[in-house]
Subunit: 269 residues, 2 copies
DNA sequence: AAACAACGGTTCAATATATGAACCAGCCGA
DNA sequence: TCGGCTGGTTCATATATTGAACCGTTGTTT
């Protein structure tokens, strides 16, 4: 890996649980040498991406990331284009809702929204969603660019006893997703969590991300599933429109079929 | 410069005017080799800091910057702690107000707010404020850490015919700022612009940034200057409090003196 | 108070890594 | 068809990165 890549790994160490990190701690987390980590941090600090707290001398993200975020938002106002819909989705379903975006071959968390209805909620605090183990990731594999499955093949990490790690089961999940229009993860990433996702499309007409609802497993019933899927389809249409895209007709048909109960199918001509 | 630093320079190329840049354009802007720039962009893309638009193959800031910004805001909610005050300041003065933060030896723009009162406004679209040529920069030199003047000495860029570029004039400006508690720039960075700034302090008790009002020169009168200074002092107190700091007593005294008209001084014992 | 450990930061020889000229392939307009 | 532009790739050269050992400081333990 290039030294640039290694330096950028340091940036990704900062998260909600650990927003300020000392030099030694950074060395421990990355396995890097102290001098190397120090030089990286110097470079990052020179560009304002990190800064040192004057008192503790530990490092935290710097003000430049705010600048960059503002420009990113101006360039691709996807986050703002998804937030209101996501709020409605979380309120309507009573669960935690996520929007992810595909960038290159990785699925990034864009924004999330928790419902206040239940005291138990699903809280997922990651920046990249594994392709093979999350509903959003499987949506990307099912509706995204071709080469994505090869990328997933190389990183079939086991997260829980339920994680599907064979290519056969993964292909089956993709087939089912393409058929029904919804992808799912039954505790394959976080135990006791059931997620359903629908794909999102942008102005290029291609898969751009996914919207998902993560439900606590004990609350998950056939009734809630159908309600969630209905809301997800609506949310997908709305966010895709905000992003300049539309839901493909074939996906609309897939949704319609999988949301129509069998007895109504028989009644139809 | 380290390769990490050079890679991060690429990041800073993206701005409002040019949010998407092609590989060749990046090479032109930086003078770097095509292969080098390409490898840097690959590294930046792998971490999600930039992404490629699928259609034009040009590069833009990626979704990871949003993640980082969220964590930064959570860690140091300075921007949010300054925004409401800045809005009031802009409304009260009828001018454009800025808040800058000192990170290392650079003064970064944190947020700004325009007034809608006049059709002509000062719009400053930079990410770093020069130490020697802006009111915010001179505030940093006057109230910030010791070594800052040495940094400024090395980069006395000329921006307008009014830019003060001698160390003598710069020292005079610093002395006057320490005496009055307000720094100023009379068109030294942008022509026809008069700026006044007051320092900000955070939980460390040290200088943390500045709040400034940029006025169109033709509107600038002794009356408006006094009003602006009064508002600036109030804004500085409020933002410093939001950041966990307080305005030092000696600065309060300096403000009080420079806001008291001479005839009242004579009347006092 | 002395000893100790952990911290951030610095140095310098060894070497792994970045570099860029040249090259390829695809696209567009003339 | 040509020429110029684009994004992307290769490989010998040489430069920038690396990490063990070091220093000074801080705060804790004996």
């Amino acid at each position: 890996m290039s030294s640039v890549g290694k330096a950028l790994e340091l940036l990704m160490l900062f998260n909600d649980a650990q927003p300020e990190i000392g030099l030694s701690q950074i060395c421990r987390l990355t396995g890097k040498d102290k001098a190397t980590a120090y030089r990286y941090l110097q470079a990052l600090e020179n560009s304002g991406l990190v800064e040192q707290t004057p008192l503790t001398r530990s490092y935290r993200l710097g003000p430049a990331v705010l600048q960059l975020a503002r420009i990113r938002e101006m360039t691709v106002p996807r986050k703002s284009g998804a937030e209101s819909t996501l709020r409605e989705l979380a309120d309507a379903t009573g669960e935690t809702a996520h929007v992810t975006v595909l960038s290159g071959t990785a699925v990034f968390a864009l924004t999330s929204c928790e419902s206040h209805r239940h005291s138990t909620r699903v809280i997922i605090d990651v920046q990249t969603f594994p392709l093979h183990a999350t509903a959003s990731g499987i949506a990307a594999l099912s509706f995204g660019p071709e080469g994505l499955l090869d990328v997933a093949k190389d990183t079939l990490t086991v997260f829980t006893p339920n994680t599907a790690t064979t290519m056969k089961s993964l292909r089956a999940a993709i087939d089912e997703t393409r058929r029904s229009g919804f992808s799912r993860s039954n505790g394959g990433f976080e135990s006791d969590t059931r997620s359903i996702a629908a794909p999102l499309f942008d102005q290029s007409g291609l898969f751009a991300g996914a919207v998902s609802v993560a439900s606590v497993a004990t609350r998950f019933t056939p009734e809630s599933e159908k309600m969630i899927k209905t809301r997800l389809a609506a949310a997908s249409r709305q966010i895709s429109r905000n992003w300049g895209g539309t839901v493909p007709d074939e996906l609309e048909r897939a949704w319609q079929q999988s949301l129509t109960p069998p007895h109504e199918l028989e009644a139809a001509p």
